[in-house]
């Protein structure tokens, strides 16, 4: 084993220690942060309140859509029942085999 090979982990640890010691100075970036934050907060609140207003106004239309879907679904299932009944009257064996397979 080569005794002179530096320990890569020790090397890495030394680099980390040096990087830790050199903390980035963020004081310039921090200057006036609260003012910028509150300005953004106000604009975010305004946009979210607009969305809330629009979504409340959409509720009646969405409700009407749900009712229409329910009615359509009920009609469709009634028609399907009728079709099954007609088919059963015409050929009961085939319908039984079909329902057994499903």
């Amino acid at each position: 084993m080569n005794e002179f090979t530096p320990n890569p982990d020790a090397e890495l640890d030394a680099l980390f220690a040096r990087a830790r010691a050199q903390r980035p100075d963020t004081s310039r970036a921090e200057y006036g942060f609260e003012t910028r934050l509150l300005a953004r907060l106000r604009s975010e609140r305004n946009s979210s309140s607009i969305w809330a207003m629009v979504s409340w106004r959409l509720i009646p239309f969405l409700g009407a859509g749900v009712v229409a879907l329910l009615v359509w679904n009920a009609q469709l299932s009634a028609e399907t029942d009728d079709a099954v009944q007609t088919a059963y009257n015409e050929n009961p064996e085939a319908v039984e085999i079909w329902s057994h397979l499903n």
């Binding site: 890569p8 982990d9 890495l12 680099l15 980390f16 040096r18 990087a19 830790r20 050199q22 903390r23 980035p24 100075d25 963020t26 310039r28 970036a29 921090e30 942060f33 609260e34 910028r36 934050l37 509150l38 953004r40 907060l41 975010e44």
Partner: protein, 185 residues
């Protein structure tokens, strides 16, 4: 004139913020911005990006404030949001930048050290360039563990990963970093 230090407890400021007092939230931001900026600066490339990350952190904290449970200090909760935002930033940035070698990065001056860093030693520049090459998870863990000196338990709390998962990821991240650093030498 330096801003006056407020001794109002965090819980009281949180309650006041929930009651609609924006000045209370500004006080929370003033109190913790140093910590949040310090962590964000380890990941971001420039002042504008640091500011973006920090604003995102505090905006999310504001809108999720009702979810803050009083069973742990406010600072822990805020640092958890900071960690997630930094991780999000790394993922987005990774998608945008694609892959570029450490050497090419150093030669092109593409290396993303923030301008606030004083003229760094070439080895530190190399370390930063290598960190950029790590996956977001690897970079997050190396930064928290080695640069921010967080314990395994703390990282587990911040990321939501199990302690053993953190250990495994840290081991792999170090190995990846070693490999990347060896490319240069």
């Amino acid at each position: 004139m330096a801003p006056e230090e407020s001794s109002t407890p965090d819980e009281q400021l949180v309650e006041a913020t929930l009651g609609g007092d924006d000045h209370a939230f500004a006080e929370i931001a003033r109190r913790y911005k140093g910590r949040v900026f310090g962590v964000a600066a380890r990941f971001a490339r420039n002042t504008a990006e640091i500011d973006d990350i920090c604003q995102d952190v505090f905006i999310q904290a504001y809108f999720k404030l009702r979810q803050f449970r009083r069973d742990s200090p406010f600072e822990h909760w805020l640092m958890r949001i900071t960690t997630f935002k930094c991780y999000d930033y790394l993922r987005k940035h990774r998608r945008e930048s694609g892959s570029i070698s450490v050497d090419a990065m150093l030669e092109s001056g593409h290396e993303p050290s923030a301008p606030e860093h004083p003229a760094a030693h070439p080895d530190l520049e190399r370390l930063r360039a290598a960190l950029v090459q790590l996956s977001p998870k690897e970079r997050l863990i190396i930064t928290l563990l080695e640069l921010e000196e967080r314990s395994i338990q703390e990282i587990s709390g911040l990321t939501g990963w199990s302690a053993s998962n953190v250990k495994v990821r840290a081991f792999r991240a170090r190995a990846a970093l070693r490999k990347l650093m060896e490319i240069k030498t």
